[in-house]
Amino acid sequence: MISKSVKQSAWFFVIPVVFLVAFNALIPLMTVVNYAFQETFGDNVFFWEGLTWFEQVLNSDRFHDAFLRQIMFTSIILLIEVPLGIAIALSMPRKGPWVSVCLVLMALPLLIPWNVVGAMWNIFALPDIGLLGYSLNAIGIDYNFTQQPISAWITTILMDVWHWTSLVVLLAYAGLTAIPEAYYQAAKIDGASKWAVFKWIQLPKMKRVLTIAILLRFMDSFMIYTELIVLTGGGPGNSTTLLSIDLVKLALGQFDLGPAAAMSLVYFFVVLLICWVFYTLMMKNEQQ
């Protein structure tokens, strides 16, 4: 770590960035806050409603259901993607020609536009003409993600694992390759088992990158929208209606801008709180 000197004029380097990001972040945020306290019927005519929407959102079953679904979805994909990503990173070769091949192929899903990801999985999973759906039905599993909530959930999770596990793999891999060879040699001399090497060397050294991975996956999965709307559209019924989809249904489908804004803000604060805790822990580790 570089020891940094105090220099207040360094602010001048940062001002352009602050200005540009604030323009994009603060104005919409302020607008959403304004919406959250008012009722509108279009044409920029607003009526003050006070805290009505917040109260309504906090007490509505719809909000509770969507929130629970969102928590469930995020927990499931974190529980799958993080261990799976670590396992794959551990079994990847460290050097040689296969490294580049692995990395490029694995990074590929991350570079596909999100609506294409959704569309791709849609045609991949269709029960009559999709590879996955057809094969499953052919071997006798009753699978139809447009009709059965369970199938829809499995497809959604599978899609997210397909889309994002590589992020965890790449991060964990970067952490692993940064471990000096001497650590492995010392462990060998100390007679450490494979499990002990993982527990006492690899895992601690990956802690930082894994925190980043969990943080990014948490934030992005909490906000998942494009892929999901293309894949299931929130259905069947409301079974895969996660936060963002619900918000859009509310805001654009029913034009209940106020409640949608209030709901977004509640979500935003929850994510902010969780991320802040994470970020603080991450920085705490870094200082040691």
Partner: protein, 238 residues
Amino acid sequence: MAKISLQDIRHSYLSNPRLDVDFALKHIDIVFEDGGAYALLGPSGCGKTTLLGIVSGLVSPTSGRVLFDEDDVTDMDTIHRHIAQVFQFPVIYDTMTVFDNLAFPLRNRKIPETDVSSRVLEVAKMLDLEEGIHRRAASLTVDGKQKISLGRGLVREDVNVMMFDEPLTVIDQNMKWELRSKLKELHQNVRTTMIYVTHDQTEALTFADEVLAFKPVRQLPRLAFVLNMSDSVSRVSR
């Protein structure tokens, strides 16, 4: 404890070495007597670290034999050779306490916890690590960490040889002297064979009973010759 003999060792990092320059080590014949303190002296890149690796089993020589006493250990695992090594940069297990760090090699060898505890405390005392022994090892200064690396070798009683690969590189000047005399003192107490790699002449001379000088590989004459020379010229007996 054992006498260590390297017989006609050659090593190359290439898979298919043909020319002499392909070899990092060529024709090494050395005997490290039991209980001796040796220093390998030479500039970086002359194959000292490779030599240590061959003794510890981290590197398999391209040809030649490694004997511990009369046993051929050339193809034996590192763990069964019962050696200890201290690296250039301190290697510690960050998330463990100092105590657990020192106990690690013993616990891996399934030694009863009561013996582990007494042995660790003994070594900690030897190295002045008793204070804050239950603190996280990561909180120590760099010389404290290097002492832990050293301690993990000392806790084991079956060690055939302790090797040091430029262990004082990252230690600052005044601590260097202290650690060096500590090592010397330790050698007198435990009488394990010690091999000490360095490019610093003073370090080599203060530590070792015998100094083996290396010359860079690229430069002629070859190592074999240098080692012959070392018998007559640079082998400083004290």
